[in-house]
């Protein structure tokens, strides 16, 4: 029995690029890129079919890092999953914490104190800056600029991670947020340290841009390569800087106005062409906007508690129901979907991973390009395998 009428017209984004006609003798070569390939950022494999140098087919293969994070979370209490969310996208544990805390707060109707909201915004924007800086660093590394730009990015990232470490006790596995606030309060000294780091960031972005933007090799390798049309981007659920580089104005910080993002002034950078260069440029501009938000947020952090005193911690059992909470993580829309049946552990716990879903269009972007460009296009998506395979 077929439930689907085959004659139904397909949506516009469905149409893939036309099948590429073979050149020369038409002999095809199948290459397996990965799972141990330096450009794949972890254990990820692409089955590429080549006609000479051109890609005619590309199938991503996942699952090498699969540990069934969702099942693990369904067998333990809500709070016990918080440290596991750090391990999803291990570059941005602060935003993962926030997304999960937001979903649970939505499920139980938990309010968050003002001071905690400010701290969350500060930490999320610091995360965004360091993620975008390293994403660009890796992208340039794959272009052949071995080391230098990546080390510039890592130098700055290390300053931000030092802030995270002094606050949460860990550089990357922060496990900092709680349902109804944050785990520990920030000190005045920490805020001064954060202000000092943030005051140095604009100079870093200037330096980074002077080094890279306008570089002849970067322009030649990235402009017009891996173009993603806006209709396809929306239809394929692409989110984050990749969607905005295709010219679609959709930033969840502006759309949902979660937390206290409606109090800050910032712009949403958009691309024109949707190629690798636009993705690079959107990330650079987003770093600048994030620095703007940080300056505004650090100016007046209000006093008060960082944890709602009424928040229930022991015997945490949400009433039956469900909630979907999402935030604008550095890589795209990170969502958590929770179903409670009144038990201490969630009945259903689902992570909507931006990294995995952004890879839906990888084949569409790569078809017709050379193998060397595949590495760049893949790098411009910005994924972390901990989140793809979960």
């Amino acid at each position: 029995m077929s439930l689907v009428d085959e004659k139904v017209e397909r949506a516009p984004g469905w149409n893939r690029p036309p099948v590429i006609a073979p050149e020369g003798d038409g002999e095809l070569l199948e290459v397996s890129m990965g799972p141990h390939h330096p450009s794949t950022h972890g254990v990820f494999r692409m089955d590429v079919v080549l006609d000479g140098e051109r890609v005619v087919k590309l199938k991503p293969v996942f699952g090498y890092l699969h540990r069934n994070h969702e099942q693990l979370a369904e067998s333990q209490s809500y709070l016990a999953s918080m440290p596991y969310t750090d391990r999803l996208d291990y570059f941005c544990s602060m935003t993962n914490n926030w997304a999960y805390a937001l979903a649970v707060e939505k499920l139980v109707g938990q309010a968050v104190p003002e001071r905690a909201e400010y701290i969350r915004v500060i930490l999320a924007e610091l995360t965004r800056v360091q993620n975008h800086a390293s994403a660009i660093g890796f992208l340039i590394q794959e272009m052949g600029a071995s080391g230098t730009p990546l080390m510039y990015a890592f130098r700055e990232r290390e300053k931000i991670l030092d802030l995270f470490e002094s606050l949460s006790g860990s550089r990357m596995m922060c496990n900092y947020m709680r349902f109804g606030g944050c785990r520990v309060d920030v000190s005045a000294a920490w805020l001064d340290g954060a202000r000092k780091v943030v005051s140095g960031l604009p100079k870093f972005v200037d330096e980074f841009e002077e080094l890279l933007t306008g570089n002849e090799i970067l322009l030649a390798r990235t402009q017009g390569v891996g173009v993603l049309r806006p209709e396809l981007a929306v239809n394929a659920s692409v989110t984050g800087p990749m969607l905005r580089a295709s010219g679609v104005n959709y930033d969840i910080r502006k759309v949902d106005r979660y937390g206290i993002y409606d109090r800050f002034k910032f712009r949403v950078p958009l691309g024109d062409h949707g190629d690798i260069f636009d993705r690079y440029m959107v990330r650079v501009l987003e770093m600048r906007e994030s620095i703007g938000i940080l300056e505004q947020a650090l100016k007046d952090v209000p006093g008060g508690p960082v944890m709602d005193p009424k928040a229930k911690i022991r015997g945490f059992k949400p009433k039956p129901g469900e909630a979907y909470g999402r935030i604008e993580a550095p890589k795209g829309e990170l969502g958590f979907y929770l179903i409670s049946t009144g038990q201490p552990e969630p009945y259903r716990y689902r992570v909507r991973p931006p990294s995995l879903i952004n890879l839906t269009v990888l084949e569409d972007m790569c078809l017709g390009h050379n193998v060397a460009d595949v590495v760049l296009i893949f790098g411009s998506v910005d994924i972390v395998l901990g989140e793809v395979d979960r």
């Binding site: 439930l3 009428d5 069934n68 939505k106 929306v234 659920s237 039956p320």
Partner: protein, 218 residues
């Protein structure tokens, strides 16, 4: 944005014969969802995507949920006619007896879709489609022809829950390897024994092995 009731009415007007019910959500999030029957789900989803006012062009999240058979026991007071000897004469007398009744609500698998609109910046609209039962190879229509974003997520639901999405262009396992047999996110999944790492057959291992054998034979 339209309320859930208005969307329900709009779907019923646009897709004749579609069975749409509202699934209430009692949590403070208040996100009620629409339950659409599997036969009309594709046409209804197409309407949600194409309708000018709703314009739900962005499929954020697709996920499966496994609902096990629900066994409910209730105690019912029943009045029965019981033969009884009253003053030496055999007559029928009414007597109230307490009985326990068991009823089994069959379980099902469910696919949940979270829709947003990029063009109009509203959402979410949540709709869910349910299978008849929890056997292997239960079918639901795939939404990938409407939203490409469902491609990997429906593959994941197929892999972990075992729902076969009819109309999906490339339905393969995505996270587990190709030779894998079971669907690990189902609530009654029993993990396989790993004799390589547990060479001594402790009681626990033997018991699990027995369970596994029973499951394979069933």
């Amino acid at each position: 944005m339209k309320s859930v009731e208005e969307i329900k009415a709009a779907i019923e007007a646009a897709v004749p014969g579609a069975g749409v019910t509202i699934v209430p959500n009692s949590s403070p999030s208040g996100e009620n969802s629409l339950l659409i029957d599997a036969q009309h789900a594709f046409a209804a989803a197409k309407f949600l995507h194409d309708d000018g006012e709703l314009a739900l062009d962005f499929l954020s999240n697709v996920t499966g949920v496994d609902w096990l058979d629900k066994e409910t026991t209730e105690k019912v007071k029943v009045t029965k006619q019981v033969p009884k000897e009253v003053d030496g004469v055999q007559t029928m007398v009414d007597e109230t007896v307490e009985e326990t009744r068991k009823s089994v609500e069959p379980g099902y698998l469910e696919a949940v879709y979270h829709l947003f609109s990029v063009a109009k910046k509203h959402g979410p609209v949540i709709f869910r489609v349910r299978t008849q039962n929890r056997t292997n190879g239960v079918e639901l229509p795939s939404m990938t022809p409407i939203w490409r974003g469902a491609e990997f997520q429906e593959r994941e639901v197929f892999d972990l829950y075992g729902i076969v999405f009819v109309g999906h262009p490339d339905l393969r396992r995505i996270l587990m390897w190709d030779g894998f047999k079971d669907h690990p996110m189902r609530k009654d999944y029993v993990e396989p024994d790993d004799f390589e790492y547990e060479p001594t057959a402790h009681d626990k291992v033997l018991e699990r092995h027995k369970q596994q054998l029973e499951k394979v034979q069933a």
